[in-house]
Symmetry: C2
Subunit: 139 residues, 2 copies
DNA sequence: CTTGAACCTCTAGTTGCTAGAGCAATTACA
DNA sequence: TGTAATTGCTCTAGCAACTAGAGGTTCAAG
């Protein structure tokens, strides 16, 4: 029921130095220590770390995760803020997709503008990289 | 025809410290200096910086830009490598879009799983953030 | 000639880790 | 029980691509 940092790492897929980093950043509680000063974790830490990991995989920035953890310490509070954080992250992901799609279109145009079959001097790829006014739309 | 770093900044939209940073990183040539040690740029520097700026806007990492600049110094070489760089970046952008779309789907599910109208204790958003096994697909 | 804006260098901070040095504790096996 | 391999500890530095600030100098306008 008590396990080492290596065990915790194995069970969550979070690397050992990252676990220590999360502790330092206050996302994980400071665990108990053995007489020899090694960290020992409990079930609750495992769940907490799983939570953090999943949030990170979903792209949440650490302050947002901090807020969610803070929130989860107060079971009686309304959960509207958790909802807000999810919606914000969704919006940010959508913004990034929009932006990347524009880049995709431009890069596709650039990459096909020249098959790599002449010299640098007359290369349309290099021209296109150098000249924003050749782009179809803003990016 | 000679201009200061501030002028260069205004004309390209690249911030002054960023210009100095690019010089330090070898993307820009070291410019001539006034007697008082201030940088003075020429037309060529303006074009070079515009090139860099556009590449960065398109998401190219600095090593790729370095390669393109290297390449453009040799007008007689074949330009197949420029083509390769464009295609690589296109691929990387497409990968990122694919990944973000998965996140978008999960976040949408999470964000709508609870309207923020109960307490933290029974909040589906918090549950969903904590439990990867609730996800529809890998991310 | 003076004043204020722009310039200079250098250092440190951002985000979320990751790598390495140099040492201590634990665990497995003989 | 001895010892060797593994795992753990702290601390510092590095990554990408900038950005911010301190403390001081030069330039250009009036």
């Amino acid at each position: 029921m008590e396990f080492s940092i290596g065990e915790l790492s194995k069970r969550t897929g979070v690397k050992v130095p990252t676990i220590r980093y999360y502790e330092q950043e206050g996302l994980l509680n400071t665990p108990i220590r053995t007489e020899g000063n090694q960290r020992r974790y409990l079930q609750g830490d495992l769940e907490r770390l799983g939570f953090i990991r999943h949030c990170r995989d979903l792209g949440l920035p650490m302050p947002a995760i901090r807020d969610l953890i803070e929130l989860s310490q107060h079971p009686d509070k309304p959960c509207s803020q958790a909802n807000r954080i999810a919606i914000e992250q969704l919006k940010s992901v959508r913004d990034r997709i929009r932006h990347l799609k524009k880049l995709e279109a431009e890069l596709k145009r650039i990459a096909t503008s020249c098959e790599g079959d002449h010299t640098v001097l007359e290369c349309n790829v290099l021209k296109a990289f150098g000249d924003h006014s050749l782009c179809r739309e803003e990016h």
